[in-house]
Each structure stands twice: as structure tokens, then as C-alpha cells.
Amino acid sequence: MTAEHKYAFYLGCIAPNRYPGSEAASIRTSKKLGIDLVPLEGASCCPAPGAFGSIDLNVWYAMAARNIVLAEQKGLDIALICNGCYKSIYEVNHKLKHNKELREGVNEVLKEIDMEFKGTIDVWHLGELLYDPEIVGVEKIRESIKVPLKGVKIAVHYGCHLLKPKKERHLGSTENPMWVEELVEALGAETVQYRNKMQCCGAGGGVRGYDLTHALDITNEKLTNMVEAGADAVVDLCPFCQLQFDRGQIEIEEKFGIKYDMPVFHYAELLGLAQGMNPSELALDLHAINTEPFLKKVL
């Protein structure tokens, strides 16, 4: 199928450098659904909104703007697969478009590297493009499935920065959204509702680096709630949340002596599996938590 929708694929850090299966799966599954993701050469860290935003918001704006301008120069909207990147790239794009003073300040800095923010593109999370019936939509995803993921229960972790703050987003409810559940159910899997579903993974705002035990305690509470609801796996839309849940389980075992063995997937990986990609094409062996038992159930 020829792709009708073309985007500059902004990678961020954690997906390409820790969970490259998500990158590979995003490109291949999107192609089947009419989305062409082309590389955004020379992009950097978004930069990490927790770290940079805490230090100096102005540097955060300028660094994010540089990534946005790379896509402006290509004349393409950005698609990305990480909630943290969404916070930086989507939000800074939005702020600079609507705040003249801020834009002029950023452009003064960008002038030093012969760049200018013009405000000519939009920024999207791949998840919202997949859900949008005008781009892909749940029906089309369902039709693309070769291996329905029958017999497993999935807990959806939305993460924070894709939906919140609500007034600076456009994705509806931040208290009990259900659209990612629809995306997961389109793959043939069941979803579960669990206590405090919208709680943060614990990693953001620099807390994972500042006080790991504190961050893990939040993660641990979420995992407990997911287990209570009978989940076989977690699915998220953010490689940083994924890292916190996946590697975090190893750290939780070390620190608190609690073992979950709960596999953690990015939605793109799950979509890849359901479209018939082989687990080896998803680098699932890089996950900290063994995905084999889950794969045995569904494949």
C-alpha cells in the first residue's frame, strides 16, 4: 500500500537507544496503515522536559525549537512515539506559535545557528494518528491484524504528558480516557480497568534520577493495582514509562523484594506482533522482563 500520510519521525532518546523494537515496529506497522515515517536527520534529545524545564525553561524552549525547525525545513509535520518528547516538542511548538514574545526570544538564539522558528508545522503522537479515523482509525487497525492477541488481559498506562495538562492538549478526558483501550482491543486483546489508572509511572520530573526509591514506590503501587485487576501485561505509549515499568521491576525486586514478571510493551510493539511481525523483529530480548510467557499465550 502506498502511504498517503507523511511525517518526519522524531525519535527522541529512549526508543532508538534502549527499545529500538518500538522504532522498527512504528515504521513497519504505520506503513501498512498508510503512514510514512521519514527520518528527521540531526534531531537531538527533545530535551528531557523534567531536567531542562527544571533548570531553565528558556533553554528548554530553544532546544526543542531546534528540533521543530528541522521538520519545518522538511515541510513535514512531526510524528513521535514518546510522551516526554510530546511534552517538549508538541508543547513548545504550541507555545511558540501563540506567544510572540517567547517566539522572538527563541529566534534570537536560533539566529546564532542560522535557524528560525516559523510555526509552519504541527506535532502529533503516533498513538493519536492511529486513533484518528481520518488518518487511520480503529477499523483499519482491526483489518490489518493477522494474529489476534486472544486470551490476554492488558492494562493500559496512558502516562502523563500526552493528555495533561488538559487545557494545552486536545485529547479529551484526563480522568478516565478509554481511547487507548479501543486501540488495544482492536488487536484482539482484552483490557482491564484498574485502580488509579491515570496515576503517573513515577519517573518524570527528574524524580527517577533524584530519588529512585520514591519513583519506584509509585511504580510499585501501579503494578499492584494492575495485578489486582488481572492484567497479563502493561501497554504504554511512552518509552520512558516503559523503561520505568520494565527495568523498574528489576529495581523493585532488589529494593522491595517484590517480583511481578509483568511484561511491558509499547503499543507499537503490540501492534507489530498482531500484524504478524516476528518477536525477533521487535528486539523483545532487550526488555528487562521476559516476554516469552506472554508470547506463548498469544502466538
Partner: protein, 193 residues
């Protein structure tokens, strides 16, 4: 004026120490916080909705409502030196729920920016800066991952600054514009030698 007192003078003394004193307050701090945050923080009526839904509150002494109060009262020292300032995960629950729409998360970010101006910052934040200065990435590639990428049919290094290091120059210029690398190096050295 009738003054209420406990019969126990020692208890009165102890409680007197909790009184808010004007000389601890810096009105400029309130103004700067509000400006950086884009929030009318002084409108906070201390309802506590923010703390009520905060994932960090039940497992620490961090109270976002208390920081809002410190902001309003101009209690700069108290706010900027409290280690709890760095326990906000920036989940934005409080921002979505605040009935007065005061964006408490952005108030915290503003206070962190002000703390950084006084070199008050945990080093993990600065290490992200130095990593990006070196490679463009906060979380850079490694050999295990390169091999995995190759097996997936991806380029060994992603098509970012990793594959196109000529773009790092521009990133350094931006960071240097704000002297951020210099300050990060200096503070890390002070802390870790």
C-alpha cells in the same frame, strides 16, 4: 485586644515560633514565581485538591499546597531550600484539577528555575545537560543496542545527532548561549570533585 493563650507558657512559646514573620517574606519571590510560571498563584485558596491527588504526597513530606502557600507568602528561603522541591514528577494532575486553574506544576517548575539560579539543584538534572552537550542525547546509544538495531534492519546509530554529529555544534551553541554547560560542569565539580 483579647489575646488567646494556653495556660502553659512553654507551649505558648513553642507555638509562637510557628508564626509567620514579615521579615521572612520576599514579595519579589511571589512576583517572579508567578511570572515564570504564568500563574496567578496568589489566588490559591488552599483547598488542597492539588495535594489530594498528588502521587508524591502519600510517600513523602512533599506537599504541593504548602509550596503554593510559600509562593503566596513570599517564603523564598523555605521554598527553595526544601529538598522536597525536587519530588514533583510533573504529572500535571494538580494542574488539571486545581479549581482556581493555578497550574501548581508550573509553579514548582518556576521555583526550580529560581533555585537553579542560586546553584540549588540535584546533580542528576545537570548530568542530562552534559550528556546532551556531548552527543545530543540525554540517553545515548551503546554497543548492545547498536547490535540489536542492526539485527532489526535499522542503522546502527539512529538518524539523529548520533548519525549526523555535525548537528551537535548547533546544540552546543544554544547551550553555551545560556552558559549552561559551564555552570553544570562547575556545580558537578563542586559536589563530586
Amino acid at each position: 485586644m483579647v489575646t488567646k493563650n494556653y495556660p502553659d507558657p512553654k507551649l505558648n512559646e513553642k507555638l509562637r515560633d510557628r508564626y509567620y514573620r514579615r521579615d521572612q517574606s520576599n514579595p519579589e519571590f511571589t512576583k517572579e514565581t508567578e511570572k515564570l510560571a504564568g500563574s496567578m498563584a496568589h489566588m490559591c485558596y488552599q483547598c488542597g485538591t492539588c495535594t489530594g491527588g498528588c502521587p508524591s504526597a502519600p510517600r513523602s513530606t512533599y506537599r504541593i499546597r504548602e509550596f503554593m502557600r510559600r509562593g503566596v507568602l513570599g517564603l523564598e528561603e523555605e521554598a527553595l531550600t526544601d529538598p522536597d522541591l525536587w519530588l514533583c514528577t510533573t504529572c500535571y494532575s494538580c494542574t488539571d484539577r486545581c479549581p482556581r486553574d493555578l497550574a501548581p506544576t508550573d509553579v514548582i517548575m518556576a521555583m526550580r528555575n529560581l533555585a537553579f539560579r542560586r546553584d540549588i539543584i540535584p546533580v542528576n538534572f545537570l548530568k542530562t545537560v552534559t550528556a546532551i552537550y556531548a552527543s545530543g542525547h540525554g540517553v545515548p546509544n551503546n554497543d548492545v543496542n547498536r547490535a540489536a538495531r542492526e539485527k532489526l534492519g535499522l542503522t546502527r546509530d539512529p538518524p539523529t545527532t548520533h548519525m549526523y554529529p555535525e548537528y551537535i555544534k548547533g546544540i552546543r551553541k544554544i547551550l553555551d548561549h545560556y552558559n549552561l554547560k559551564e555552570n553544570a560542569d562547575r556545580i558537578i565539580k563542586e559536589r563530586e570533585g
